[in-house]
Symmetry: C2
Subunit: 343 residues, 2 copies
């Protein structure tokens, strides 16, 4: 079982409109809702890959009730009943889909909504994110008790997304230390100060995007920044570079992994799919190049899927053998001739 933590879960609402006109009244043609938050997205993809997963974090209020109801209604594999999927095409994962189990911790506050307004003409998306409920110290303590029990029986732990109001900025560092104390591999996917504190607690894997990595290290040069992030405490660092794929710095070497062609579509959830690819590869003890190829193919297949945050299984199966994984020089000194702006 893989445990994913989403402290700031969300009810993700998608509005389809002809075109969003600011400062006017817009009629919404179609409304859909799904359980959201990065760790929940990761768990959904893990389940589709055949890995049992458990989601925890906080949930509350009417939107929290709706989130839990929608989560329970999702079929095995985390795919809603209406999504037509072809299992035969998933060639590298266990053939049986697995379940997402709800271990969310109830709170007095109300789970936030996120609203994605999709222009039907252009496909462009305008995102509105509510801030999320304030979590009390007692609720955090209740979560920690539950988290320790769940982490102790997990094959891996993923800590995903932003912190809701009320949670101390070192929360992820605390969760990293607890997972490590239980001897469980732990992945961290967050940003800003929670990432800075969390990485210092020495997680097994961090997956920043280019902006998060630059904010953490002060460098926009991906290879240098990725290696800097390792020095800050990440045992392995996998940076997601958008359409360029992934860049990994690990104890076993450094690699770039890129999709065969740039894909166009909705990037929502692409990073979460990459996390699911990396985590599943970790528990399956795949070599790094295979983990990275899976993560890149899942990520690109998510961009290509019509529904935000889901991946196109056929595209995934087609892309997987065509991801180019190239080893990078193991000489970080190669870059040291450039002017040192950050010491």
């Amino acid at each position: 079982m893989i445990l994913t933590v989403t402290l700031n879960t969300a009810l993700d609402i998608t509005y389809r409109t002809a075109a969003l006109t600011p400062h006017a009244t817009n009629r919404v043609a179609e409304v859909s809702e799904r359980p959201g938050g990065k760790g929940i997205n990761v768990a959904r993809v893990l389940a589709a890959l055949g890995h049992e997963s458990v989601v925890t974090g906080f949930v509350g209020g009417r939107t929290g009730d709706a989130l839990r109801e929608l989560l329970a209604a999702e079929g095995p594999g985390g795919q809603p009943a209406h999504a037509a999927v072809s299992d035969a095409l998933v060639t590298d994962a266990p053939v049986t889909d697995a379940l997402v189990t709800d271990a969310l911790v109830p709170i007095a506050g109300t789970t936030r909504r996120t609203i994605a307004v999709v222009d039907e003409t252009t496909g462009d998306t305008t995102q509105l994110n509510e801030p999320g409920p304030t979590v009390t110290p007692a609720e955090w303590a209740a979560f920690l008790t539950s988290y320790e029990e769940l982490a102790a029986r997990a094959d891996a732990v993923a800590l995903c997304g932003s912190l809701p109001p009320g949670i101390h900025v070192g929360a992820y560092a605390e969760l990293v230390r607890l997972a490590r104390a239980a001897g469980r591999p732990v992945l961290l996917d967050t940003s800003g100060e929670p990432l800075r504190r969390g990485i210092a607690a020495r997680p097994d894997l961090v997956k920043p995007n280019a902006d998060e990595l630059a904010q953490l290290t002060g460098s926009r040069e991906p290879l240098r920044a990725t290696r800097d992030a390792r020095r800050r405490g990440g045992r392995s660092v996998v940076a997601s570079l958008g359409a360029a794929g992934l860049l990994a710095a690990t104890p076993d070497g450094s690699w770039r992994a890129a999709p065969p062609t740039a894909v166009r579509g909705n990037p929502t959830g692409a990073g979460d799919s990459a996390v699911a690819g990396l985590l599943s590869g970790l528990v399956e003890r795949l070599p790094w190049p295979e983990r990275l190829a899976r993560a890149v193919a899942l990520s690109a297949a998510t961009v290509l899927a019509p529904a935000a945050g889901e991946f196109d299984r056929e595209a995934y199966a087609n892309l997987l053998p065509r991801v180019a994984v190239t080893e990078q020089s193991s000489q970080p000194e190669q870059e040291s001739h450039a002017p040192r702006q950050h010491r």
Copy 2:
């Protein structure tokens, strides 16, 4: 008691953002929710004026539960507990605020949400309106039974807003006829085909805005269009002309009523406040000029209020004696020299 009907109720959500950036991710700084839909807004203002009101229409799902809970939580006068109001300044209304009673009919579908995204820098509002639930024939029949009972003991009935999916386009005509059969004065405030059908059933009062009136009559000349709307079946027609105030064509004469100065602010709910002014004046048997002055002052005081859909009581008291009401010529022939574009 005044009965207001809102067939397409809504949970009105307001998001405050620094500035809405289309096709980007926007953080919402503040979220507020209130029971919405035109008839519910009208009832809230009626209650603030001291008139007992009953709201009916349809409500369902989690958003419907939230709407009912918020409606019950509103204090007497329909003002939420947090709103600081000064009762001493309400000079022309009964001094005691009254209650809004919930007689909404439950349905299987889910009440729609509306989202108003307010730019904190400019005050500009981008509105997103969900379409609303589909109402079944059995639910419509249950509503009609309840409506007949409520209308029979109402001093006046107001039919407000759009029709949800599943309701036949002649629904308002049916409700007008039932109110008239019960001997109750009935006001209609809707648009498009439901207005066209509804006005033919001879309501006592219709309150179109300039666009609705032009769509109904084919004329953008307000006095001509207002009189045309009377010929189509409205016993009295009061057109709301935005900042220019109101234009009334009635069996007792025609009047224009205008605020002393143009007011700037959020026009959301201004039309609903005008309806409440007209209805309260009707049941208090005020002469037309006084009804119109009240409606204009309430409408302007709604534009001036910081919260969308509420009115500023102090501004209302100040504006009321300064509304200019001028009688219009009773000679519609005066205009007949203009080219007749619509016969």
